[in-house]
Symmetry: C2
Subunit: 201 residues, 2 copies
DNA sequence: TATACCATGTAATAAGTTACATGATTTG
DNA sequence: CAAATCATGTAACTTATTACATGGTATA
C-alpha cells in the first residue's frame, strides 16, 4: 500500500502525466520505495477510481492524448492520515546475511566473492543516495525545487530537512554494510590462513 | 527462493519433522529470513518433489504418523551451489524512511510518535538479535550446539563465527536505526520550537 | 525516414500474508 | 477429561516481478 502514498507524495509537488510521474518517481522517491512502471500505471488507475487523484486528458500531438494526474482534496487527506498511522514494519528477510550465516559451507573464495559483491552493491547504492543528498542540500534536485516553489504551507527548510534526514539514514546504512562486509573478509582470512591474498580496499 | 535454502540450512544440522523444523526455524534462521508455517509446510513438499530433501513417515501415537525430513546428497549440493551464486539484492522498499521523507506534512507530534515507534521497534529487534548472539557466543544456542556436534566437516569455530558475524551486522543495523530516529526527534524539535517536550531517551 | 523516446499498459508468474481448518496426542 | 500443543496444512488475497506489447510523436 506504500506505493500509493509514494505516488501521492510526488503529486503534492505538482500535477504530472503518468509518464512524467514515472520518470520523476525513478529519480526521487523510487530510491526509497521501488516500483516498476508496470506497477505504477495500474495503481494510478486505482487511485482515480478511489478518488485520491484526478486524471484529465490533455492533447498530445494531433491525434493523441495523455493523462495529467493531480492530487484531490481527498488525496491530501488520505496522505496526511497515512502519516498519522503507525508504520507496518516488514518482516526481516535478508538474502546477503542469510548466506553469510552459513559461509562455513562455502569455498572461502566464494565467501570472499559474496562479501566483495556486498561492498560493490552498497558502494553503488551509497553513491546514488549521496547524489540525492547533495542535490537536496544545494537545492538543485528538480522535484525538490519544484516542491519548494509550489508548497505554500510548509517551509523550504522543513521540506528539505526531512528529505536530507531520510537519505542520511541510507548513507549511514550503506557505510555500515560496507564495514560489515570488510570485517567478513577479515574473518574469512582469519579462519582460512593461507587462502587468497587478504583484501585491501 | 531463499526460504528453500534457509530450510536446507536447518536440515544440515539434523533431520527434523516438519513441526520441529518450523519451531526451530522461528527461533533461529527465521530471524534472518522470516516465513510463516503456512509457507514452510508447502515448501517442504516441493523440496521433496525436487529431491533436495527426503521425508520418511515415523509413528506418532497409536494411529498417526508424522514426517521426518532429512537433507539428501542433492540437497547438500544445491545448498553449496547456492552459496556460490551472487546474491540477488531486493529492491529498496522502506516504509519508515518513506514516511520520514514527508514529515513536513505530518503533525509534529505525529512525526515524533512515528520516530518513537521506530526506536521501540529496533530496540525490540536488537534485543532478539543480541539474544541470539549471546547464545551463539556461549554455545547455549540449541540448534548451533546440535550443528557443532553433528557437523564433521567444519570446525566449531567457523560454524559459530559466521553466525556471530551475521547477527553482529543486525545489532549494528539496529543501533544505527535507533540513532537515526533520535536525530529525527531532535530535528522535529528544532523545526518546531515550542512543540512537545524534547525527547530524552 | 529512421531512431529515440513518449505513453501506457497487459499477461503470466512468483512470492508472501492472513485467516482459518482439522484432528490427533500428550499431560495435568 | 479438559487443555495445551503437536501436526499439517488450505484458501483467498495482495503485492510484486518479468517479460512483452503497441503505437504515437519529436528530432536529426
Amino acid at each position: 500500500m506504500s506505493l500509493r502514498y509514494a505516488l501521492l507524495a510526488l503529486l503534492t509537488a505538482q500535477p504530472m502525466t503518468g509518464y512524467d510521474l514515472a520518470k520523476a518517481f525513478h529519480v526521487s522517491v523510487g530510491h526509497v520505495w521501488h516500483a516498476p512502471d508496470s506497477q505504477i500505471y495500474p495503481e494510478l488507475k486505482r487511485m482515480v477510481a478511489d478518488g485520491v487523484i484526478e486524471g484529465e486528458a490533455v492533447a498530445w500531438g494531433p491525434k493523441s492524448t495523455k493523462t495529467r494526474y493531480s492530487i484531490s482534496a481527498a488525496g491530501i487527506e488520505a496522505f496526511t492520515r497515512w502519516l498519522d498511522e503507525p508504520v507496518e514494519y516488514p518482516y526481516d528477510r535478508d538474502p546477503a546475511h542469510l548466506r553469510a550465516a552459513y559461509f562455513e559451507w562455502a569455498d572461502p573464495d566464494s565467501a570472499r566473492a559474496r562479501l566483495r559483491e556486498h561492498i560493490v552493491h552498497y558502494t553503488e547504492r551509497r553513491a546514488q543516495w549521496q547524489g540525492q543528498l547533495d542535490a537536496i542540500r544545494d537545492r538543485t534536485h528538480p522535484i525538490l525545487a519544484r516542491r519548494i516553489q509550489t508548497d505554500t504551507r510548509h517551509s523550504a527548510e522543513a521540506i528539505a530537512a526531512f528529505k536530507e534526514f531520510t537519505y542520511e539514514g541510507f548513507v549511514e546504512r550503506a557505510d555500515q554494510e560496507i564495514a560489515w562486509a570488510r570485517r567478513g573478509l577479515a574473518l574469512v582470512d582469519a579462519l582460512q590462513p593461507g587462502g587468497a591474498e587478504p583484501d585491501r580496499g
